[in-house]
Symmetry: D2
Subunit: 359 residues, 4 copies
Amino acid sequence: MSSTFGTLFKVTTFGESHSPALGGVVDGCLPGLELSEADIQAQLDRRRPGQSALATQRAEEDRVEILSGIEQGITLGTPIGFIIRNRDQRPGDYADMRAVPRPSHADYTYVQKYGLRASSGGGRASARETAARVCAGAIAEKMLRERAGIDIVAWVSSAGDIECAGVDPETISRPRVDAHPSRCPHPESARAMEALIAQAQSEQDSLGGTVTCVCRNVPAGLGEPVFDKLEALLAQGMLSIPAAKGFEIGSGFAGARMRGSQHNDLFIKKGDRLGTRTNYSGGVQGGITNGEPVIFLVAFKPVATIGQPQQTADFDGNPVTLAAKGRHDPCVLPRAVPIVEAMAALVLADCYLRQLQRR
Amino acid sequence: MSSTFGTLFKVTTFGESHSPALGGVVDGCLPGLELSEADIQAQLDRRRPGQSALATQRAEEDRVEILSGIEQGITLGTPIGFIIRNRDQRPGDYADMRAVPRPSHADYTYVQKYGLRASSGGGRASARETAARVCAGAIAEKMLRERAGIDIVAWVSSAGDIECAGVDPETISRPRVDAHPSRCPHPESARAMEALIAQAQSEQDSLGGTVTCVCRNVPAGLGEPVFDKLEALLAQGMLSIPAAKGFEIGSGFAGARMRGSQHNDLFIKKGDRLGTRTNYSGGVQGGITNGEPVIFLVAFKPVATIGQPQQTADFDGNPVTLAAKGRHDPCVLPRAVPIVEAMAALVLADCYLRQLQRR
Amino acid sequence: MSSTFGTLFKVTTFGESHSPALGGVVDGCLPGLELSEADIQAQLDRRRPGQSALATQRAEEDRVEILSGIEQGITLGTPIGFIIRNRDQRPGDYADMRAVPRPSHADYTYVQKYGLRASSGGGRASARETAARVCAGAIAEKMLRERAGIDIVAWVSSAGDIECAGVDPETISRPRVDAHPSRCPHPESARAMEALIAQAQSEQDSLGGTVTCVCRNVPAGLGEPVFDKLEALLAQGMLSIPAAKGFEIGSGFAGARMRGSQHNDLFIKKGDRLGTRTNYSGGVQGGITNGEPVIFLVAFKPVATIGQPQQTADFDGNPVTLAAKGRHDPCVLPRAVPIVEAMAALVLADCYLRQLQRR
Amino acid sequence: MSSTFGTLFKVTTFGESHSPALGGVVDGCLPGLELSEADIQAQLDRRRPGQSALATQRAEEDRVEILSGIEQGITLGTPIGFIIRNRDQRPGDYADMRAVPRPSHADYTYVQKYGLRASSGGGRASARETAARVCAGAIAEKMLRERAGIDIVAWVSSAGDIECAGVDPETISRPRVDAHPSRCPHPESARAMEALIAQAQSEQDSLGGTVTCVCRNVPAGLGEPVFDKLEALLAQGMLSIPAAKGFEIGSGFAGARMRGSQHNDLFIKKGDRLGTRTNYSGGVQGGITNGEPVIFLVAFKPVATIGQPQQTADFDGNPVTLAAKGRHDPCVLPRAVPIVEAMAALVLADCYLRQLQRR
């Protein structure tokens, strides 16, 4: 249902931002794979708040504990349960928000859905929920890397109106992405983003932006016709990330303005396989990978929690002025990078296993 | 799996473009609903090829036959099976394509996936597959309209570089959309699109474009937290349509360039409910509807089949020149309109039933 | 949901006994398999009413038509849609039953579930629904036989209080089962059953009984731990057959009276694999096949429709006397044989594909 | 998949008997329900080893910890994650079993499935896995009791060849069941069972038996036609319990020997609803509840781990003599009672929610 993703590589997550813990279960990981908490912790640390002055200072340690599915460092093929304790619970920060639904947050819609006005922190709508996805994604990534050589890298491709210039998707690497706290791998653009983020923060405002992701060495044949096309599952995965508002694969919206004669990816021989000269398709045709890199872009809205006072209404419709006091990022983009990678890994892991059974 | 969509309102489709028939099964429709083949045929006719000079001339009658699930014009609550016979099968047109994978088609990826080089027409990747979705969508729409007053309208919002000016999502209607064969409801833009499509056709080329869709009177509370957010399911549904390359909801990619202080949808009292002043969220917050119209946009790449000769390669990598002789649309946009509506209806019907059980 | 079965080899069925047609969709069959309507028709003919004096005389031709998923006699790997037209619709026979729920039928429970009192024939509860399962099962069986050498045979092991004596599960074959219309492969028992069925018929009464099924050459490793144990899925599949009231695998209820020292299946070398001396486990241990034959038994209640007058009540609770006039079998057992085989094939096909992806 | 059960009330479990913890996630519980760890602990304590001389002495504390989904004692409608730490890990006991697959255990089949010879304790095949189901079942039961007044009671109805005499399914209660450590509510039968279990233990042997379960106040209309009939889901649930070999509902195997004229449950008015005079159907007709008590029976094989030496073979086929040294129950029946109740609650909770959405 809402908290399970995947058909064969199946992830279920749980946890509120202020519950004792959050965590998840990965069911369907191949047996015989080397896996340790360190494999997961690396990506979790990239998602963690408080990594730099650009991000929120909430001091979560965010240590993953694997509870099952592994023996002597090897996956058993059975469900891998894991948890992360929530240590820094300060519901007090959110106390007076309970009467006022925060604009562009899920406070109002959760009440409409569940009929309950729970204490805040956002419940399952909190960005904190994504920590469990990052753990699951790290497991998926390990399997994809070891068994199929698949390699996934995402980066911040724009923040506000600043675009990241000149990234080569064939060679970009995570160390290059992490070289600057903005996770924009083009140094000059990165510095401009940093300045913009600092400015937004000083104005008690927030920024949106985009993250681009490339998946390399993806074998041809992954993805299903019709409803579970690879790009359809990626779109679901990406739009399920909090604050995501758009997705495009390959040429995307720009492709909608092109002619067929420009846009068609003509075939050429590449070594022992058939490749394409261009990759406007973004590595998929008819929903199935063609062996070219899978490239896609995700748009994130500006962070909804801002320090500026906002003229809004309480649950009863009375006008109120609201100004956030809690901890918040002016820009989620750098921390969204490992989340995008995680969802990409979950989609590919599932499609990889679904295709394995057909051979 | 690949051919089933939905959790409670569940659709399964089947059929190749050149098999004896295509069809589907809708499992989970509420009982006691008036439903006839005419309800379905209306939308199917809007999808049908050969409606105007703008579309392919393949002479499919496309008559739906309901096989089960209805008695005396009333749904029983049991699976509704339906078929559409394929009458105009001319596989000969595709004969010499069998040795050459058509660029930006699924010929190559299907061989990679299934290990079979089937005779053409595209198998499940053919746009013809969408006829079954349109039938299922019409059933979903009927249920949504009768039980919840939900109303769905899509239109062509751009073709190539021509944008449709001035549509009011609160009032736009299907008759207004259908007034021009381009399905662009702004007369001047429509004429410009028509000219552009004619030009592309004369150049044996093709065009892409975008379709916008609005869903009105959607009750608050639909959609699930985490992986099955309403926008995530819509994104999956839309990217599962052949040729779709992008999706955005509400402010979408433009929102990524905005500030939080501009983008937040502030609450105001609207009659007896809480509404928002603006609708940058596109009717969803945290994956759950807030009672405002759900608005989204889908990007379609230009049609891959073009009459112009293309320098490509055969399955063995030998260079060949390919020029399509079969029937093909220069622009799929007008026919994509009912398909987008169908997928929106399927997503909403499923989320509607999933929320019903919580009350 | 209710009308879909399986995770990777996925079957969806539709159709009422008096709708224009019934049918189904098999999604997930491996590509490259030879398959024709004749493969399906053979099993469908074994299920058909009117095969002998022992069964109902409803003259359904029951011809399957494959609509998709096959080209030139080879499966494409895409969904296989199929239908069977209902030609002999005589709802009149059931007319006066509409006001009176037939005892031990689903008339009352369907009204409770759907809130509709539909015209009769039993809707989805009719045994006619199983024709679609038999078609799907025949496809599953073909795949299992061709790709894994799996072989499934069921037979009537008791009717009323007459037990079938002396069947060797290692060698029993369908021709031997079909040698007598009772589908009891032991000639003497078969004659006794025939006499008992004739007697019940003459008394306007009906009989229950049991069907035993053996699946041979099932590779070790099929079935999943925990909820999808092979025996759990078989139990679901069997109890989903109309009139089934019990299921046991291996030693079953008799095993519950044994000691561990008797019941444990001790290992011995069998050729190049490990086998067991006895097979009280029925071919599964911990939910997973061990390479020994999978053997199970299904109990069917006596047919509910009988000619004898019954003192029951109408929907409003008023006492009425009901005596069936419609067509009905005094004993469903012989026709249940191919249905049990079909459900066994569906379960094994799904578990076979689920295990393939792990290798 | 293998570790997830249910469509709307969805349970996922994880954990090996010797992993750091086991646990699960319940997704889909209704919001607004009072729920605490004490509600769960009560049933968990009934499953726990070491309750009496009749059961194994492994000293697990088995304390459940709820990690999410609850705030101030009220369910939020979000996933309820929970864990139980494994404190008493003594893998040494199983050390020499690693080379020899235990007869009628899953050691051999797990190697066939996963290709790994993991250290023992049985992995997911261990009875310890059922602790997580009992937790999930307790949550389901709470929801069913509070929202629909449904009441579930199971008891030991036979151990070896001793049958429990004279239980009235209309009035039997858990305190009455728990009055004797055998969980057989008929005092005389209970004492006979106790003696039989003691005898088996002294002979280093083990016993099987049966558990009967009744679900009262189940509203009419639960269960789905075709594959997800209530009895089909119950059968799956029960056969998924370790050591279960058979299932029957209502008249079951005895019903197969009856005539229709005896077996049909004739309708009579019961207060303001239609009831039946007899309940051979076991509360379901056509897969859907009819408002009468749901009654079913589960057969369990004798415990496979016995102290007696057994002549078996190691993984390479060499003959060996094996005698268990680890901790083991001579009879699992008393501890199976809360597990059967848990699986019944999970099935009913799912069917209850699936029916809610139709209203």
